[in-house]
Subunit: 411 residues, 2 copies
């Protein structure tokens, strides 16, 4: 079952879903066009007894994550064994068509840290916003610069994004009104599995065991609001209205064969010891951004790919380094904490930008779309879909991250 | 019972504690030198039946807060009735000496938003850090500027504070080492009771019902780390290592007779409509900061008051305005969310500063302490205690916030 699909036995990502006929949400693992209900496996003795049934009938993955890597690996292995069986050998209800699931936001995010680890993104943003100064701030190559985002507004794929209002400068005067510079940001989200101890920094080369898996992440941003508010405490209302994540958490184990060192092997200057690691830690992902305008949707057009990004070439800082920095002051991370990679952009901002800021160079060069439309920033009715995968048909089995979609609705 | 104490019948703050002989933590209400175990009242029919017993045997106040104002007001009223009884009339175990309690961090903080709403603090910080520019940024009088802090490192009074390491500039070169500019920040913490709906901003004049109560809050800060990291995304590792809050949450109901309009009645320019309110919303609190060095502690000296602050005179922005701004983009707040007021400082930075940055003017003018000691920033072994109260012996009953204490231990 599922062989050859991006959700085949090499992937086996975790999610949480309402299953028709079941009262409580269930932890599920995608397998091809189906999903496996882990609680059904458990009840039929197909999961190791160390897995606590209570964590499998939960509205989030957090209780499973808190059980530790042995438990979630055991659960994933059991699904791998199911993948080798024929459907008729499985207990009734073990397999559910994915199309029948109502997928939920899979995490109760404790702390959400959003990074800024994309070299081309940070460089372009500096050039656009501060054209007379060096593009990168003096700290950028020394620490994986980050800020805390709002965990309470992390939403799932498919959630509508209401255009936020905010304070923006209009002819030099601040006014509270709907943003006119609504943007997306293409990111990977890293999900913490095992937490850390208070006062015990995690070095980058010890970080592997703390990563449960990854999701696609869209850090929606109101650029005009951000410009007015961000000094001196950073972005706040410009980003806190919504952060969308994909429903399936692709595990670190699934990504392990697809890790590369990328920039982290050639960072200059070499970072401080606790940030240094020689382990390949960047998933070799292909990412793309699909934009569907309201007019395209009416015409049945699925939309147009506006950006294609090689994630490993985009990211200067890795998750291991982000975690090491976030805990370097003794701060604790908890199961279910979420780290955004920062926007992933390639060197060609017009074709590989991870945001409209880059694709339109700050709104100066509109994106020309099929059908005569153009975009500087998002309009009401626009949908953005982020997609990601690694491997390809000729090499290792393809691993799909799936997608995270969101449609802008009026303020 | 309790009359005349800052924890008397006019106060009745909520906490969570381990009680000797009880397995699970309990929700308790302070009453004079004692605390009332609400679950015992419930079991003896002394609480309205609408209060769910499960929320009273909980490690945090969050489940009680989620029940809504009617429930928590009912619980507090019941304790008010107990206060009129004599101890012998009460069920066994209803009253526990406060000295016997092991108080816990009373909240599972979802999102922690830290403000910057103190006029004198923001002005002084601007003068110290950017002496050649206007002290306040152009946005400061238009929006209650804020950032998201780390909820996972909110700790309770008495927690030790390990001196954080971080990246600081040494002769122009970034090095990872223990901070040499460790500071405190004197703040009030506002605890959200009733959450908001996604996409539904709460106007400042509708904010009252969302405030459950207040705590004292120390936003520990590493100034040298902050200076290196904060561009362009704001403070991160300089503050995320620890935020201390006091154990007793003093309710908005207890503070209601002590609210004043303060600066919010004379803000210039007038803020946008959703931020405007004519309700008095700033608690008329007296705050003070006690510093006890290790040497003082050894000599049995409880320490010296280094700052006294009139909270209402310090704060330009109110909680109602902070909540209105945080939700103005449609973001949701949840029960147990925490808002820091921002550092509260009076106009005389050397006597009324809410941080050592102000009290020593950026470290330039050391604080001279009894016994010949001096401080620019905190040393290992130093303890900081923040205290607060409102009313006085001759007027309305005094309301004590209690204290939040923390001792610095070596990196």
């Amino acid at each position: 079952m599922g062989a050859g699909s991006g959700f085949g036995p090499a992937n086996l990502p975790f999610g949480v879903a309402r299953i028709p006929g079941q009262r409580d949400p269930r932890v599920v693992v995608a397998l091809g066009e189906d999903a496996v209900d882990l609680l059904v496996l458990h009840r039929h003795g197909l999961l190791d007894s160390q897995v606590d049934a209570a964590v499998l009938a939960s509205p989030t993955l957090n209780p499973l994550l808190a059980q530790g890597p042995e438990v979630w690996r055991t659960a994933r292995r059991a699904v791998g064994e199911v993948a080798g069986a024929t459907a008729s050998d499985l207990p009734a209800g073990a397999l559910v068509p994915r199309s029948a699931l109502a997928l939920l936001v899979p995490l109760a995010v404790g702390d959400f840290v959003d990074g800024y680890g994309g070299l081309h993104h940070a460089t372009s943003m500096g050039q656009i916003l501060r054209p007379d100064a060096p593009a990168l701030q003096p700290n950028w190559r020394h620490i994986p610069v980050a800020y805390h985002g709002r965990s309470g507004t992390v939403v799932g794929s498919g959630a509508t994004i209401r255009r936020p209002r905010g304070h923006v400068l209009v002819d030099g005067t601040p006014q509270y009104r709907p943003t006119e510079r609504l943007d997306f940001e293409l990111e990977l989200g890293y999900v913490v599995g095992t937490g850390s101890e208070p006062g015990s920094p995690v070095r980058a080369d010890e970080a592997d065991d703390h990563l449960f898996g990854v999701v696609l992440l869209n850090d929606w941003s109101a650029r005009d609001v951000q410009a007015f508010e961000y000094q001196p405490l950073g972005p706040f209302a410009a980003k806190s209205f919504a952060t969308s994540i994909s429903h399936w958490v692709v595990t670190a184990d699934a990504l392990a064969p697809h890790l590369v060192a990328g920039w982290t092997a050639r960072q200059d200057p070499a970072p401080a010891a606790h940030l240094r690691t020689c382990r390949p830690g960047i998933p070799d992902l292909h990412l793309e951004v699909l934009l569907q305008t309201e007019a395209m949707g009416r015409a049945g057009d699925p939309g147009v790919v506006v950006s294609r990004v090689d994630f490993a070439a985009a990211m200067y800082w890795s998750f291991a380094q982000q975690l090491a920095h976030a805990t370097s002051n003794g701060a604790v991370v908890r199961p279910g904490d979420l780290f955004g990679s920062g926007t992933a952009s390639g060197p060609d901002a017009r074709r590989q930008g991870g945001s409209l800021m880059e694709l339109t160079w700050g709104g100066a060069q509109p994106l020309e779309l099929p059908g005569g439309e153009e975009r500087r920033f998002l309009r009401d009715g626009d949908s953005i879909v982020l997609r990601g995968w690694c491997g390809d048909a000729d090499g290792a089995p393809k691993i799909e991250l799936g997608e995270v979609a969101g449609t802008v609705v009026p303020a």
